[in-house]
């Protein structure tokens, strides 16, 4: 066994990060395809307010995070009919949530560390119980994504034609935002809300620049997410740097590489 896997915290971190990388990146493929990167980033950040509110109320911060994120997903779906036109409402929901989060932290400064920890995540603090929840949620999100894959793909690429064909575009939009919300709620305690872009958007954006096919692109997205997250963990372990920073740096590096006009890298 490699040296870094001799420690339970490293093994837990590897399992949790692998599950989150696979689930988050595959959901992220559609986030990028549907140009909902801002909504996904906002959902991740809204979790901070939920966790802070739960700390204040004396309940599990995870429960508050989940309720806030899923509630925000529903409000976003309700306020923006067109997926490309909801930037303003998403921004307002995000602003209000962050304001609430700051208020909760201010009111309950005694144990605000748990909520503030949500902002950056604590990948090396994951225990077996959390891994079980991450595995169950990841399986549920991926099953949900698989179930709506075909109508969601059509509605993402040509919503007007999909609606004309009788595909419930608005319902799909709500379901997808709920999947993003569930994915964000389970990923945020591990990778942090501020750095969730690294998993939800970075790999998919790079893969879509390199690959013009949906199936192949999703496979490449998952591969890049695993490379970024597991590579980030190793870099963090050996260089003694924060794991989230390493994952974010690798995600940014791959995205930057994908923007280079190198034809040979495009499939």
């Amino acid at each position: 066994m490699p040296e870094f896997l001799q420690f339970a915290f490293m093994r837990n971190a590897f399992v949790a990060t692998t599950l989150i990388a696979l689930m988050g990146s595959l959901v992220g493929y559609f986030v990028v395809l549907r140009r909902q990167a801002f909504a996904s980033h906002a959902l991740s950040n809204i979790g901070f307010a939920g966790a802070a509110g739960a700390s204040l109320a004396g309940v599990d911060p995870m429960l508050g995070l989940l309720l806030f994120v899923m509630g925000a997903a529903l409000v976003m779906a309700w306020t923006g009919r067109d997926m490309g036109e909801r930037d303003v409402s998403v921004g307002m929901i995000l602003m209000f949530s962050l304001g609430l989060g700051a208020l909760f932290v201010n009111l309950y400064s005694a144990n605000a560390n748990a909520a503030i920890g949500i902002l950056f995540g604590s990948v090396f603090g994951i225990d077996a119980g959390q891994i079980r929840w991450i595995a169950i949620t990841s399986a549920g999100v991926l099953l949900g994504l698989g179930a709506i894959f075909r109508p969601l793909r059509f509605a993402s690429l040509n919503p007007q034609a999909a609606r004309a064909q009788g595909i419930p575009v608005a319902t799909l939009d709500t379901l997808f935002l709920l999947l993003v919300g569930a994915a964000a709620a389970i990923a945020v305690p591990v990778i942090g809300s501020l750095l969730s872009f690294a998993i939800f958007v970075g790999p998919a954006a790079a893969a879509q620049a390199w690959c013009g096919r949906v199936g192949l692109g999703m496979g490449l997205t998952a591969l890049l997410a695993l490379l970024e997250s597991l590579g980030g963990l190793l870099l963090s372990y050996y260089a003694n740097l924060p794991a989230s920073s390493c994952i974010a740096a690798l995600s940014f590096g791959l995205y930057g590489l994908s923007r280079l006009p190198i034809r040979a890298l495009r499939a």
Binding site: A147, R150, F154, A161, G166
Partner: protein, 254 residues
């Protein structure tokens, strides 16, 4: 194929049109003409069952519009794209194949999708676009892919919503030829346009909407002083020039 009697429809409180009656035959080319706001898109939405008629009735392919929707294809005006959209043509077209089904496509379904996409691309003369990235395509090429996507589930009726509005003249001729070819394959086409001239030579009938009213007939029956003056409720003059027709009221109207 479509039979509408005394149709009235609209969004919100106002009616876009009322007392509109028409029939569309299988394999026919109908030009849906009218100024902006005349109700062309509302009529398409009524045919698709997305808007219920306020008055009158409409039968599409022998059933109610919402029941027959899967046999109708709608082609929107243009393809909304990010500047860096890297998806290739084949992937875009195949996204519509059996898109109402839940679950991931199985291997058998993928084979059928490939055959359906090949046939659709061939029909619109876009085989060469199968491996091209959408971001590298011209407006006319994107329009052809939109039509190919509409054909992938073998519809019996295709509604084209202002497909010429953002195209140069050469691309316009291409799209009109592609639409006319669909009618030779037995597919009925309703082609909405501001300007009748690009489709004059191929359309069987003209359905003209203006001022909340509608009339259907041959080009000569509809694009004439009498009919258009009646529709616009104001004196209108149609001038013919080298096979083209120009409509004038106080200001040019179409």
């Amino acid at each position: 194929m479509i039979e509408a009697r005394g149709l009235a429809a609209g969004k919100g409180a106002a009616l876009a049109f009322k007392h509109v009656s028409f029939q569309i035959a299988p394999g026919s080319f109908t030009a849906l003409v009218g100024p902006n706001g005349a109700g062309k898109t509302t009529l398409f939405e009524t045919i698709l069952g997305l808007i219920p008629p306020r008055h009158g009735e409409i039968q599409v392919l022998g059933g109610t519009p919402s029941r027959m929707r899967r046999q109708i294809a709608y082609v929107p005006q243009a393809l909304a794209l990010a500047h860096d959209d890297a998806l290739i043509g084949r992937e875009f077209v195949s996204a519509a194949f059996q898109a109402h089904r839940l679950g991931l496509p199985l291997p058998g379904s993928r084979r059928r999708a490939r055959a359906a996409v090949d046939a659709a691309l061939d029909t619109v003369g876009a085989k060469d676009l199968a491996t091209r990235r959408l971001s590298t395509l011209s407006g006319g090429q994107r329009q052809r892919l939109l039509i190919a996507q509409a054909l992938v589930n073998r519809p019996r009726l295709v509604l084209l919503d202002e497909p010429l509005s953002q195209l140069d003249p050469a691309a316009r001729d291409w799209i009109v030829a592609v639409a006319a070819d669909l009618t030779r394959r037995g597919i009925a086409v309703i082609f909405s346009t501001h300007d009748i001239n690009p489709v004059l030579r191929v359309c069987d009938r003209v359905l003209y909407l203006a001022q909340g009213r509608g009339r259907i007939g041959s080009v000569d029956e509809i694009i004439c002083d009498e009919t258009l003056s009646e529709l616009y409720a104001t004196p209108v003059r149609v001038i013919r020039d080298g096979g083209r027709r120009f409509v004038f009221a106080d200001a040019p109207a179409a």
